[in-house]
Subunit: 356 residues, 2 copies
């Protein structure tokens, strides 16, 4: 007997998703996985420390009810319309396991978050993409023609940073017979959110994460917002205790102290717009971004995207490069850091431009 007789063919054939590099102990500035450059506010850390006690011997609240209640308060939504995830990736998996049977179609505009494809394959579904329209609107007819059970719209989009108009999301919800997932992992950095659309669209699910604006990537917390009926089905698919006690404590503290995040988010937005201007001045082509990163086309005729990755790494700045996709081969993605980090980053860019 060999492994090939045991393992599902679609798992055997998968390459597996490669997360962004997490340097261990090396002194680099991490601008590669869109984490928040600021630590979580002190009340969040205080709440966590206070919760480290002997009661960790007990199972956590199975459905993360305290988190759902705190989210309900902050966002003005019924806690029964909220499902918590072990990161929003967990919610994406739950969504696929709730709606997609083998052979069914999952669709998204392209380019998009690279995890949807392997998660769909894992579920036995067929993942299809349609290019974003040139004006960054959704190719609604082409997506709907695929007859998908689930359509993923990342807003702001990764890795491009654009936020398609909310009217486009409405148009898609009305046109499709499937479920629309509005992935707002970067939603707090955008000018607006799709949350108000939930009231009028039964087939809309919105996912959010605490890994970006929430400065809690280490704690794996995601939230899904949806109709009560969909939430009931998602809870069946959810792992019985998917959020540990400390993740729940961190999430509640973050939601209850969201005011403390606002200046951090504002600072990131300012640095984003500043860095975009500065890179454009230096020959990069950087479109507007509503996320906490920029996707920059490198200056033509000089070093390639891959060379920028390597040279910036040598200079102490870790960015992201997506080699495989032909439309991304001349582009690099830079997470927005603190003012000091962005100043240092621009100095490193200037040195490389002068060297070559």
């Amino acid at each position: 007997m060999t492994i090939r007789q045991w393992v599902r063919p679609n798992v055997l054939q998968m390459a597996g998703y490669t997360p962004g590099e997490q340097p261990q102990g090396k002194p680099v500035v991490k601008l590669n996985t869109n984490e928040n450059p600021f630590p979580p506010p002190q009340p969040v850390l205080d709440a966590l420390k206070a919760a480290v006690d002997g009661k960790l011997r007990l199972y956590p609240e199975p459905s993360a009810r305290p988190v759902r209640q705190a989210a309900g308060m902050l966002y003005g939504i019924d806690p029964d319309q909220v499902v918590a995830g072990n990161g929003s990736d967990d919610l994406l998996t739950m969504i696929l396991r709730t709606f997609v049977d083998p052979g069914e179609v999952v669709a998204a505009p392209d380019p998009t978050y690279t995890l949807y494809d392997p998660l769909t394959t894992l579920q036995g579904g067929q993942f299809h993409t349609v290019p974003w329209k040139a004006d960054n609107t959704i190719p609604v007819s082409a997506l709907v023609a695929l007859n998908p059970k689930v359509i993923f719209i990342t807003r702001p989009n990764a890795p491009t940073g654009h936020a398609t108009p909310l009217s486009e999301v409405v148009r898609l919800c009305k046109s499709t017979k499937g479920v629309v997932v509005l992935d707002e992992a970067y939603g707090d950095f955008a000018n607006n959110s799709g949350l108000p659309l939930l009231a009028n669209h039964d087939n809309l699910i919105i996912t959010r994460t605490f890994s970006k604006s929430g400065a809690l990537a280490g704690m794996r917390i995601g939230l899904g917002f949806m109709s009560r009926d969909i939430a009931l089905q998602m809870h069946k698919v959810r792992d019985s205790y998917n959020l540990d006690k400390l993740a729940q404590v961190a999430a509640v503290a973050a939601l209850e102290n969201w005011d403390a995040y606002e200046p951090l988010i504002q600072a990131i937005r300012q640095q984003r717009n500043h860095l975009r201007n500065q890179l454009n001045r230096r020959g990069f082509q950087v479109p507007e971004s509503q996320a906490n990163f920029l996707l920059a086309q490198v200056p033509q005729g000089r070093r390639s995207g891959k060379e920028w990755l390597d040279d910036l790494k040598s200079a102490g700045y870790l960015i992201r490069y997506f080699g495989a996709d032909p439309r991304l081969t001349d582009k690099i993605r830079i997470t927005i850091g603190t003012e000091a980090e962005m100043t240092g980053f621009l100095q490193a860019v200037d040195k490389l431009l002068t060297d070559n």
Copy 2:
């Protein structure tokens, strides 16, 4: 459009798994979900507190490598043979998603852990059981005749507490063309473990949890041990960052300070044997258990299993009752607590026996 058009039929039809009750704030002694009655040792709590800092803004190590390395040290196994889970339930899900395609069979001796059935249904598989043999050995031929992709053996078994001989596990591994999962959630309370069998059986996976002996149910930590080849496939199915930073810190501290757990585990074993003797003297029928719980048949002709549940709850002791299964209808399951808790529990039992 309605929810029935969107949701997978097998999810729609599922009732969903009901975890044991987690009383919020009520003054009861929890003897219902097999948690450890002792808090985690102080070095574990200290490590957790020390890890609560601004670095929680960063993603955790994706594959929980520090945990796998610490487990490798403690158990004398290659870290590449270890996969970490967000609780061992996460590992059970990963196993089913790695091996089971729609319509394929998953099997287990019955009774067994009640989660295997819904997890298999969720994966589109067929869950079949065969009764344990009267001498608590595995019905190997009958299980193998089902042609299962995966066979679950819980050892010690839940909810009966018996530990089938390891020679039976060997016999099963040699007989089946599928994968054998030895679920050692309660393994630390048993007289021996199947870990040494891994070296000679490529189709064996062993799962363990920190929720019972590890006194860390609140942190959701599980470990799977298997061949390197199977581990590689399981990592593809695993959520990219399935263990948060603090869960990893807790797991490493627990593994590195396992000596501190030994007296706690020994105390639980002693109380288990003591409670068994005491209940047998009072007319209960309680078989030997190698877990941290007892499954007790209630005295005949008096109150029913359900009435024991209710009356003990009124007396401040929360136990577990499995109403649905006809073979369990006259039985209650009692988690082993501290000496003081067991003394109080027996006094409550005596009072109820006197009352009625």
